[in-house]
C-alpha cells in the first residue's frame, strides 16, 4: 500500500494555476521521479506535500500519508516534517542559515526529530555518511562549496530518519562530477535505509539513473506517468518523445570550414585572485584560477574546454575577450600581443563572447535591438542602413524575425534570448567566438536546437569557436578538439573521439565516469 497518496492536487497563485489536478502515489521504499521543464510545477508539488507553499499560493486536493490526511494546522504538520518526510532543496546556496555553523544546523534537525542522545557523534557519523569530513561541521555555510552545502542539506534531511525523502533538483546547481557523486549518495542511502524517494529533476538521465517510476509534468499537468522502462522505452506522449530526443543529442555530420593557421595563441597564462581567509587561523594563499596555461586555436577550428566547476574556464574566457587581466603570461591574436583589457581596439570586434546566462546578459531597460546593435555603435565608418542591414541579416541567421528587435528581453524565452545573445556576439562579424556554457542555462528541450544553430553559423560564417562546457555530449557535437582543465591547469588535449574513448588524465576519466549512462540502458547501480 502507498506511503504517500496525492489526489487532484491543484496549486494556484491568484487564479493562475501552477499545478492542475495532479494525482500520484509513492509506495514504501519506492523511488518516484518527476521530470519536466522549468516552471512546470515540480517544486510546487513538493512544497505542497511538505506544507511549505509560498504565501499567495492556495492548494486544493487531498494528500494522504500512511492512510491519514496530512494535517492543515502548521504545528501538527511541523511534527511530520523532518521525522517522516525530509526534503532537500533546489538552492543549496541559500537554503542554509548563513549565521549558523553547518554542524549546529544538522544537530538542530536531529534534536527536533527527538534524537537527543549524543548528538555530536551522531552528527559526525552523518557527515561521514554523506561524504563530508567532521571538520566541516565547524564551518559556516559560506565557507563550504556548493557540493558540500548540498551534502549538508542532505545530512539535515536524513537527520530525522524520514520514511520519504523529497529531493528537488539536488544537483542542478552543481558541476558534473559533484552531480554524479550526490546522485550516487542518494541512491546508496535509499537502498541502505529503505527510504522512499521523490526525486525531482529536469535531467532525464538523473531520473532514469535513480528512479523506478517516472512522472512527466508540463505546465502543471501530468503528461505521462508509469514505469521507468515504459515511459523511457516507448513513450506515448509527443512531449515525452521530445524530451527524450533532446536528452540524447545525436552528433550530426556537418560540413566544416577549412582549418587554417593559428588565430589565437595563449602563452603561460596565469591569473591569481586574492582570496579571503577562512578565519584568522586558516589564512589561504592566493588562488590560482589559471596556472601557466598555454595553447593555441587555429582559424576555423572549434576548440572545446571542459572541466569541473571552478577550474578556471570562465576566467580564461574573460581574459581572452579582454574583460580580465592576466597576472602573468601573454596572448597573441593574429600577430598582436595583449594581456587582456589592453586588447587593441581594432581587434576587439574580431573576438566576441557569448555569456553563460541569457537572462543576465541583456539590460532589461533596453530593447533587444538596442542591446544587439550595441557592439556596432563604435563603428563610425559604417553607413547607418548598412548597419541595420547587417542586424536584419544576423537576426535572420539565428532563426528569429527582425520585428522582434523592438521588444524587451522579458518578453522572450531563455532559448530565444540565447539566440539573441549569439546574434549580438556575431553582429560585428568576429573571427573568434568564445562561448561560455552557451546552453547549460537552457531547458533540455531547447539545448539541441541552439547547438545545431551554432554549428550551422560556424559553417556559414567560417567562425572559430572556443566552447566552454562541462557537458561531454555537447563537446562531442561541436568540438574538433577538446581541452580538459583542472584547477587552472590544462591536463589533457585531444580529439573528442580519442580523448573520450581512451582518457589519460585522472580527471578526464572521472568526468567520463561521472557522465550518467544513456537513457534506455538500465543503469547498474
Amino acid at each position: 500500500m502507498a506511503l504517500l497518496k496525492v489526489d487532484d492536487l491543484t496549486v494556484t497563485f491568484g487564479g493562475t494555476p501552477a499545478l492542475d489536478k495532479v494525482s500520484f502515489a509513492i509506495g514504501k521504499g519506492q523511488r518516484f521521479g518527476i521530470i519536466g521543464e522549468s516552471g512546470s510545477g515540480k517544486t510546487m508539488s513538493a512544497l505542497a506535500i511538505m506544507g511549505l507553499l509560498p504565501e499567495g499560493a492556495t492548494a486544493t486536493g487531498t494528500l494522504i500519508f500512511e492512510d491519514a490526511a496530512l494535517p492543515e494546522d502548521e504545528a501538527a504538520r511541523a511534527k511530520l516534517r523532518g521525522k517522516r518526510i525530509g526534503m532537500v532543496f533546489q538552492e543549496p546556496m541559500t537554503s542554509l542559515d548563513p549565521l549558523q555553523k553547518a554542524g549546529a544546523q544538522v544537530a538542530e534537525a536531529m534534536i527536533l526529530a527527538g534524537h537527543t542522545a549524543d548528538v555530536r557523534t551522531d552528527v559526525e557519523t552523518l557527515f561521514r555518511e554523506v561524504g563530508l569530513e567532521p571538520a566541516h561541521a565547524a564551518r559556516y555555510p559560506h565557507q563550504l562549496s556548493g557540493g558540500q552545502r548540498q551534502r549538508v542539506m542532505i545530512a539535515q534531511a536524513l537527520a530525522g530518519k524520514p520514511d520519504l525523502l523529497i529531493a528537488d533538483e539536488p544537483t542542478s546547481a552543481l558541476d558534473l562530477i559533484t552531480q554524479r557523486r550526490i546522485i550516487d549518495l542518494i541512491d546508496r542511502l535509499c537502498t541502505e535505509r529503505g527510504m522512499a524517494l521523490m526525486f525531482i529533476s529536469h535531467d532525464l538521465r538523473a531520473v532514469a539513473a535513480l528512479c523506478t517510476k517516472i512522472m512527466v509534468v508540463r505546465r502543471g499537468k501530468v503528461v505521462e506517468m508509469g514505469d521507468k522502462l515504459d515511459v523511457l522505452g516507448h513513450p506515448k506522449q509527443d512531449y515525452t518523445k521530445l524530451l527524450l530526443a533532446a536528452g540524447r543529442h545525436r552528433a550530426r555530420t556537418l560540413m566544416r570550414a577549412p582549418i587554417g593557421a593559428d588565430l589565437l595563441a595563449v602563452r603561460n597564462l596565469t591569473r591569481r585572485f586574492r582570496q579571503p581567509d577562512v578565519s584568522i587561523f586558516e589564512p589561504r594563499p592566493p588562488l590560482l584560477a589559471l596556472d601557466d596555461v598555454s595553447f593555441s586555436i587555429r582559424a576555423g577550428e572549434s576548440l572545446a574546454l571542459v572541466g569541473p566547476s571552478g577550474s578556471g574556464k570562465s576566467t580564461l574566457a574573460r581574459i581572452i575577450v579582454g574583460l580580465d587581466r592576466a597576472t602573468r603570461g601573454e596572448l597573441e591574436f593574429d600577430h598582436q600581443i595583449y594581456h587582456g583589457p589592453d586588447l587593441p581596439r581594432a581587434a576587439r570586434r574580431d573576438i566576441s563572447l557569448v555569456f553563460q546566462d541569457p537572462f543576465g546578459s541583456f539590460n532589461p531597460r533596453l530593447t533587444i535591438g538596442e542591446s544587439v546593435s550595441e557592439p556596432l555603435r563604435p563603428e563610425h565608418g559604417a553607413e547607418f542602413d548598412d548597419l541595420s542591414k547587417r542586424m536584419v541579416e544576423i537576426v535572420k541567421a539565428v532563426g528569429l524575425s527582425p520585428d522582434m528587435l523592438s521588444r524587451y528581453p522579458h518578453e522572450f524565452s531563455g532559448g530565444q534570448r540565447q539566440r539573441f545573445a549569439i546574434a549580438r556576439a556575431l553582429v560585428t562579424r568576429p573571427r573568434l567566438v568564445v562561448l561560455d556554457e552557451p546552453v547549460s542555462a537552457l531547458d533540455v528541450s531547447v539545448r539541441g536546437e541552439v547547438l545545431v544553430l551554432l554549428n550551422r553559423l560556424r559553417a556559414d560564417f567560417g567562425l572559430t569557436f572556443l566552447v566552454i562546457s562541462h557537458d561531454l555530449d555537447m563537446v562531442r557535437i561541436v568540438a574538433d578538439r577538446v581541452m580538459v582543465m583542472d584547477k587552472g591547469k590544462i591536463v589533457e588535449t585531444g580529439t573528442p573521439a580519442t580523448l573520450l574513448e581512451k582518457p589519460q588524465a585522472a580527471l578526464t576519466k572521472e568526468l567520463i565516469a561521472a557522465a550518467l549512462p544513456d537513457i534506455g540502458i538500465v543503469p547498474v547501480l
Binding site: 512544497l47 523532518g82 537554503s95 542559515d97 549565521l99 538542530e108 537527520a159
Partner: protein, 317 residues
C-alpha cells in the same frame, strides 16, 4: 577579522584628520571678532586690541592649527576665548549630559522600535500591522522639538511629574539627573523608534520569505519557531547598520532638543560658542561630535562583522 578591524581603524583616523582640516579652515573663514564681541559696542579700540593679543588671536593660522592638533593628542584643547576656561573641561562637562542623553534615547528607541517591528512583521497584513505602521509613519513625521514641547506641556506643566527642562548635575543627585533626561530622550527617541520599527519589519518580512527559513521548517520547525531561531538574527543585521547611522541623527537632534529643554549639552555649547565666535571652543566641540559619530559607525561595523561570519571573511569595503 584583524585585517578588517585594522582597515576600519585606519579609515576612522583618516576621516578624523580630514574633518579636523576642513573644520579649521571653515572656521577661520568666519567673519567676526571674539574680542570685539566680548567687549561690546562701547569698548575702545585699544582695549579690543589688548584682548586680541591676550587671546593669541594675532598668531598665524598654521601655527594655531598645528598647535591645536598637537594639543588634542596631549588632551589639551586650549583655553576658551569667551569663557577663559580650558576647552577640555567645558566639553567634558557638556558630554556628561549629551552622551547619556543620546545613549538613553538610543536604548529607548531600540526597546520600543524592535519589538514593534517584529510584531508587525509576524502579523503582516493584520490590523495590528497596519496600525503600527501608521503610528510609525507619524513617528517619523513629527518634528522632535514640537513633540518635545507637547511632552513638556503634558508631563511638566500639567501633571508636574517631570521637570520641564534644566539638568541636575550627576554629583548632586543621579536620580534627578535621569529624571531631567527622560523627556528629552523621549523627544529624541520617537522618530528613531519609528524608523527602527519600519526597518525591522521590512528586514524580517524579507527574511521570512527566504529559502533557509523554508528549509528550517522542513526540518520540523513551525513558522514562528523558525523565525525566532533563524529569522530574527538574520533580520537584525540590516537593523544593526541603521543603529549605527542613527547615532548621527540623534547627535544632530540633541542640538535642538537641548534648546527646548535648556540642557547644558554639547549641542548648545557649540551653538553659543559660534555666536560668541569662540572658534577654539567650536572647533574642538565639533571634532568631538564628529569623533563620537564616526566611532559609533566604527563600532557598528565591528559588531556587524562579529555578527555576520560572511563579512568577517570579506575584506571590508
Amino acid at each position: 577579522m584583524i585585517w578588517f578591524t585594522a582597515q576600519k581603524l585606519l579609515g576612522l583616523i583618516a576621516t578624523l584628520l580630514v574633518a579636523a582640516a576642513i573644520i579649521f579652515v571653515a572656521l577661520d573663514l568666519l567673519p567676526g571678532d571674539p574680542a570685539r564681541f566680548i567687549l561690546g559696542i562701547n569698548a575702545t579700540p585699544d582695549s579690543v586690541a589688548a584682548l586680541q593679543q591676550q587671546l593669541g588671536l594675532d598668531r598665524p593660522p598654521l601655527e594655531r592649527f598645528v598647535g591645536w592638533i598637537g594639543g588634542m593628542f596631549s588632551g589639551n584643547f586650549g583655553v576658551s576665548y569667551s569663557q577663559g576656561v580650558p576647552v577640555g573641561e567645558l566639553i567634558a562637562g557638556r558630554l556628561a549630559v549629551t552622551l547619556p542623553l543620546t545613549i538613553l534615547a538610543m536604548i529607548l528607541s531600540t526597546i520600543v522600535g524592535l519589538p514593534l517591528g517584529i510584531l508587525a512583521a509576524r502579523k503582516r497584513g493584520s490590523v495590528a500591522d497596519t496600525g503600527l505602521m501608521l503610528l510609525a509613519q507619524l513617528g517619523v513625521a513629527v518634528p522632535n522639538f514640537w513633540f518635545g514641547m507637547l511632552l513638556v506641556l503634558l508631563f511638566a506643566v500639567t501633571l508636574h511629574w517631570l521637570p520641564p527642562g534644566g539638568f541636575v548635575p550627576w554629583y548632586e543627585n543621579p536620580l534627578g539627573s535621569i529624571a531631567s533626561l527622560i523627556l528629552p530622550s523621549l523627544a529624541l527617541a520617537l522618530p528613531q523608534a519609528a524608523i527602527l520599527a519600519r526597518v525591522m519589519r521590512t528586514a524580517l518580512v524579507d527574511v521570512q520569505g527566504s529559502d533557509y527559513i523554508r528549509a528550517a521548517r522542513a526540518k520540523g520547525l513551525t513558522m514562528s519557531e523558525a523565525v525566532w531561531r533563524h529569522g530574527v538574527r538574520n533580520a537584525l543585521l540590516p537593523v544593526l547598520t541603521i543603529l549605527g547611522l542613527q547615532f548621527a541623527y540623534l547627535v544632530a537632534g540633541t542640538v535642538i532638543v537641548e534648546n527646548v529643554f535648556y540642557l547644558p549639552g554639547l549641542g548648545r555649547l557649540i551653538f553659543d560658542a559660534i555666536n560668541a565666535r569662540d572658534l577654539i571652543l567650536v572647533r574642538s566641540s565639533i571634532i568631538i561630535l564628529v569623533l563620537a559619530v564616526i566611532a559609533t559607525m566604527f563600532i557598528t561595523d565591528l559588531c556587524y562583522a562579529w555578527a555576520d561570519p560572511r563579512l568577517r571573511d570579506r575584506r571590508g569595503e
